[in-house]
């Protein structure tokens, strides 16, 4: 399938960019896998269907972290079969360049259902950039994405998902991670444009000394509807999790959920849900939940929903900044806090999205 220039631009905006050094790439256009290329021997990138044929052991991991019967969307993904990627980083291999993957909806009204599976073996490291977008002319469609992450002992997986959908697209990601002893899982999520409906609630089960961080940054213009969140289950001793979400509603609806469950001693969990409302027509609903099942744990959260502070705005304007610029500076800063540790190229991508979203430009 040939891609036109505008599609290439669309892909770049969600981090799928051949000009950026990367360790592998994977592209699905509608239902068709059009690229599956590893650029190093340290890892494998291939269609999941092929991997399931090649590695019988993988079948045990297919739909293990996520129940096929969880809801109608997981059932639909199961019925559609394993269209999606399998990425494996071999033991003790640290792949520092990102692996780029992208799911592109080309055909208006299409229902795209994919299933991905990631394995980072003991001591391995992987940085995955996951872009999901529609072709410029496509406003309608449905994307269902099941992703299972297996993070081995002392391994590290960072996954950064950037959503850039059409106005009336519905999106149902279903992802879960299992992090073995001493492993680290970092999930970054960025959505800056209008979307018909997004419902996602990724989860991570953490064994002893494992950590998970979920950062979500969303900007919801009028018409956008997002129900996002994350759950961390601290199963092993001294497991730790941070869930941070920053939501800006410019007229859109945003639900941010969070749940940290501390099961054993020495666990630590912290949650921050901060929302900024720019218009009275918008809604931000934060539901942080902490659940402790052992006396020797530390769980905390802070949550806030409010307008831009008049005092902060006046302070910036007293230096000569016009109100609109002052607002942008505050909003941009508010959204970028959780993503401070993103690799620079991705930081740049996100900053550009935030700036353009604020200007109300079509991006």
């Amino acid at each position: 399938m040939d891609r036109d220039t505008s599609s290439n631009n669309d892909l770049r905006q969600v981090g799928y960019d051949p000009l950026i050094d990367h360790a592998g790439s994977f592209l699905v256009e509608d239902h068709k896998i059009t690229e599956a290329v590893p650029h190093t021997d340290a890892l494998e990138v291939m269609p999941l269907a092929l991997a399931l044929e090649r590695y019988p052991w993988l079948r045990e991991r297919y739909f293990k972290l996520i129940d096929k019967e969880q809801d109608r969307y997981t059932r639909e993904a199961a019925d559609a079969g394993p269209t999606g990627f399998f990425i494996r980083v071999f033991a003790e291999k640290k792949v520092l360049l990102p692996v780029q993957s992208c799911f592109l909806l080309r055909t208006p009204g299409l229902r795209q259902a994919v299933h991905n599976l990631v394995v980072a073996e003991k001591g391995a490291e992987l940085h995955l950039v996951n872009g999901c977008t529609t072709a410029r002319y496509t406003d309608m469609g449905t994307h269902i994405g099941v992703t299972e992450y297996y993070v081995g002992e002392n391994a590290k997986v960072t996954t950064s998902m950037i959503h850039h959908w059409g106005d009336d697209v519905e999106v149902y990601p279903r992802s879960a991670a299992h992090v073995e002893k001493g492993g680290h899982f970092v999930s970054n999520y960025v959505a800056m444009t209008r979307v018909g409906r997004i419902e996602m609630y990724p989860s991570a089960i953490l064994e002893s000394d494992a950590t998970a961080t979920f950062n979500s940054v969303v900007y919801a213009p009028a018409g956008a509807w997002l129900d996002i969140g994350a759950r961390a289950i601290l199963r092993g001793s001294h497991a730790a999790a941070d869930i941070v979400s920053r939501a800006v509603s410019d007229g859109g609806y945003v639900m941010t959920r969070g749940h940290i469950l501390g099961e054993t001693s020495g666990c630590r969990g912290h949650m921050e849900c901060n929302g900024l409302l720019l218009k009275e027509s918008g809604v931000i609903h934060a539901i942080p939940e902490l659940e402790g099942r052992s006396p020797d744990i530390s769980l905390s959260h802070e949550a806030s929903v409010g307008m831009i502070s008049r005092e902060e705005l006046a302070y910036l304007m007293a230096s000569g900044l016009d109100e609109e610029i002052a607002r942008s500076l505050i909003i941009q800063g508010f959204l970028e806090v959780p993503l401070a540790d993103l690799p620079p190229f991705l930081q740049k991508t996100v900053s550009a999205l935030v700036t353009q979203a604020r200007r109300g430009e079509a991006v």
């Binding site: 502070s309 008049r310 005092e311 902060e312 006046a314 302070y315 910036l316 304007m317 007293a318 230096s319 000569g320 900044l321 016009d322 109100e323 610029i325 002052a326 500076l329 505050i330 941009q332 800063g333 508010f334 959204l335 970028e336 806090v337």
Partner: protein, 245 residues
């Protein structure tokens, strides 16, 4: 020639209560004035009213900058005309890096020097005023003025909560701003500085002092003499003595 700042019969309400009640004040070009007064006398309210910060309602009177009325303008327009205010208690703004803010307002084109001289290079990526110490807050406020390079600087207690080392750093930059750091500049810029402790007089050459009491300028004169009298006898005695002259 119109004065740099001219305030006449200024009445300002805060929360429905009159805090300023008929302030008269004029700062000619190139002069630096010091504003003394006890807590609650209206010093900070006066600077806030000049900048038209929210919550400060001008119910009567006029403020003019170089002959142009500014009491009906927006805060950013007043700043753009050439007035800069260093806040006593600047708000902490999460997410906004000091460097991003300063770059957005920089009129100098040589802001690297400001960061260096105010010892703020290591704070470039810090969130604006978040967790800053007293000295860091003051240095960052002065960096802000340095970047703006205004014709009139308003300083709200630049010496409070600052040790002598920090005071030397910030006053050096204040003098640079006042002199526009330009040897060809014949006349220096103007300033209105609120001072409690009077230390600032040892570092910045001030032309005139004013005591504000109960929302009015109660007396004016030589700032050094006034400060000495305030220190030995208090504000009210100082006012009486100055009036007797």
């Amino acid at each position: 020639m119109d004065p740099l700042l001219s305030i006449s019969d200024l009445w300002v309400e805060v929360g429905g209560k009159s805090v300023l009640r008929g302030v008269e004040l004029s700062i000619p070009n190139g002069e630096v004035h010091i504003l003394f007064g006890p807590n609650g006398s209206g010093k900070s309210t006066l600077l806030s009213a000049v900048m038209r910060l929210p919550g400060f309602h001008i119910s009567r009177g006029a403020i003019a900058f170089r002959g142009t009325r500014i009491d009906g303008m927006e805060t950013n327009e007043i700043a753009q005309l050439g007035i800069g205010l260093a806040f006593q208690h600047p708000p902490a703004i999460r997410g906004v890096a000091l460097e991003n803010f300063i770059n957005a307002i920089d009129n100098t084109g040589e802001i690297a020097r400001g960061f260096r001289e105010l010892h703020l290079d290591s704070h470039r990526r810090r969130e604006l005023n978040c967790g800053f110490s007293g000295g860091e807050l003051k240095r960052s406020e002065i960096l802000k003025l340095y970047a703006q390079s205004p014709e009139l600087i308003l300083l709200d207690e630049p010496e409070s909560g600052v040790d002598l080392e920090n005071l030397a750093i910030i006053t050096r930059t204040i003098n640079q701003i006042l002199l526009a750091d330009n040897p060809l500049e014949v006349s220096r810029r103007g300033g209105l500085i609120i001072s409690h402790a009077g230390f600032i007089l040892d570092y910045v050459e001030a032309d005139r002092g004013h005591i504000i009491l109960d929302g009015r300028i109660a007396c004016s004169g030589n700032p050094r003499e006034m400060f000495d009298a305030i220190r030995s006898e208090g504000y009210y005695h100082c006012v009486r003595r100055m009036s007797e002259r």
